[in-house]
């Protein structure tokens, strides 16, 4: 098992096909409206006037496949009134269903929409990093399914050493809030964190 499990996204390779999302739904047998992994489309652009009076557009778009980042300082764990939300011995942020009261307070706080409410169970659910697969030595379902190998997983330090730790692009939130175990190789069009140049284009999908 990993000590500090992390996900890595190569945004340049991601085509936004959402196979990871589907593989996750399939693996976890998720009901409608519950998603442990979401592929967000972030896009924007405008017309700009050239010196000669002609106009040019700078339309851009890119994808971010995000699940739970099993943060170092998870706001869901901090806020959970019951201690049902906790970080287990393998660094995986987990919901203990024997304690969860279904108050959805973790959902209010998490800037990655990781905790999801399952109305049938009246409890919160989330990505568990495919713990069972890891124990069998297999990769998480989303990583295994990615057709472009844009999604990887591993030990945070190793991924950070290989790809660099401080790439935060819009619309990801300031990482100092929760310390996400997420490594990103930015797309050539990626806008910096906090940028207002684009917006999430598929809210009904994520």
């Amino acid at each position: 098992m990993l000590k500090r499990p992390a996900f890595y996204i190569d945004m340049e390779a991601c085509t936004g096909c959402k196979t990871c999302m589907i593989a996750c739904i399939d693996k976890n047998d998720l009901p409608d409206g519950v998603l442990f992994r979401r592929v967000t489309e972030y896009a924007g652009g405008n017309w700009s006037r050239n010196a000669n009076g002609s106009y040019e557009q700078n339309v851009f778009a890119y994808y971010l496949s995000i699940s739970c980042n099993h943060c170092e300082n998870p706001i869901c764990v901090r806020s959970c009134p019951t201690t049902a939300m906790h970080k287990d011995e393998n660094g995986i942020v987990t919901v203990d269903h024997d304690k969860c009261v279904g108050c959805r307070y973790c959902e209010w706080g998490c800037p990655y929409s990781a905790p999801q409410f399952n109305a049938e169970k009246g409890k919160m659910e989330k990505c568990d990093f495919c713990r069972d697969y890891l124990e069998q030595g297999k990769p998480p379902a989303c990583v295994a399914a990615c057709p472009t190998r844009a999604l990887k997983f591993g030990e945070y330090e190793e991924l950070a050493a290989k790809y660099g730790a401080d790439n935060v692009v819009a619309p990801l939130p300031d990482p100092s809030i929760t310390g996400p175990n997420l490594i990103v190789s930015p797309n050539r069009n990626a806008r910096p964190e906090g940028s207002r140049s684009g917006k999430i284009q598929n809210p009904e999908e994520v």
């Binding site: 979401r38 806020s79 201690t83 304690k99 969860c100 009261v101 209010w108 929409s113 109305a119 809030i177």
Partner: protein
């Protein structure tokens, strides 16, 4: 705008009303120049009933209410745990104070009364902090706290003042001077609460100006059909407080009690409508950073 938090709207408004009623009625009791007799005797039981109703209503927000006993386990870091503990502590103190006063109606029980008031103040503070999440900039503002304390004082003094109007109407033995002083405390508390709410309005507008990843701000959410609601809720609360202050002022100057009941009922209805509308807007403009 999505209005799906009715249980939390009612829980917060009723709980704050109960806290305000307790604070104002205890201050009125201390301020009264002579013996108050039984004229404030129904305040504590009413506070207890309101708090119990609020706590029961909050259960309907939960997906698995049977697990609610676990919600106090994370008081070390969760403001929600602290809220439940604070409200529970306030309720226990109200019940204890009510029992003491019932056994001996002359008992002041000042120590217990002060403790209950402090627990009430703490409960509203903690309740505000629950919403002041770093990832929810529309709520993470001092306006949340001003709004909550404002609701406590406005709705609490009008509910308490109405009850006082009903009880004092039946009690001809109450000295005019005492009557005036008690009514005066209720007026001042309601006006202070209204002041807090209105100081909070510009700060709330600043907080509502923050945006999420969809490039939508809280103000934009309110821009279409919400503007009417936003204005209506302020007008309702203002009108309710004005009607109440006018009626209670009649008691202060002419010791004339009758008007307190009808006007008090009317004022309470207006303020309750305004506060519930305001709280629906509060939950309806939930907006979080990130994705």
């Amino acid at each position: 705008m999505v209005f799906n938090e009715w249980s939390l709207v009612l829980f917060t408004v009723l709980a704050q009303t109960a806290v305000g009623m307790l604070l104002v009625s205890e201050i009125a009791r201390k301020t009264a120049s002579g013996p108050v007799g039984a004229v404030l005797s129904r305040q504590l039981p009413a506070v207890g009933v309101l708090t119990a109703a609020a706590l029961l209503l909050s259960l309907s927000h939960l997906g698995t209410p049977l697990h609610s006993v676990f919600t106090i386990l994370n008081a070390g870091s969760s403001w929600l745990s602290r809220e439940i503990l604070a409200m529970g502590g306030f309720f226990a103190a109200v019940v204890a104070l009510a029992v003491v006063r019932r056994r001996n109606p002359e008992a002041e029980a000042t120590g217990l009364a002060v403790l209950t008031m402090l627990l009430g103040l703490v409960a509203v503070y903690v309740m505000s902090r629950v919403y002041m999440l770093v990832t929810v900039p529309v709520w993470d503002s001092v306006s949340t706290m001003l709004g909550f304390y404002g609701t406590a004082l406005v709705a609490g003094s009008i509910a308490g003042g109405l009850l006082f109007g009903i009880q004092s109407n039946r009690d001809a033995s109450l000295a005019g001077e005492t009557r005036s002083r008690i009514a005066g405390v209720f007026i001042l508390a309601a006006l202070l609460g209204l002041g807090l709410k209105f100081v909070g309005v510009p700060l709330e507008m600043i907080a509502l100006d923050s945006m999420n990843g969809l490039d939508v701000s809280g103000l934009a959410m309110l821009a279409s059909d919400g503007t009417v609601l936003l204005v209506a809720r302020m007008v309702l609360t203002f009108l309710g407080t004005a009607v109440f202050a006018w009626a209670a002022f009649r008691v202060v100057v002419s010791h004339e009690n009758g008007v307190m009941i009808n006007a008090g009922l009317c004022a309470f209805g207006l303020v309750l409508a305004g506060e519930i509308m305001g709280r629906l807007i509060f939950y309806g403009t939930y907006l979080r950073i990130g994705m």
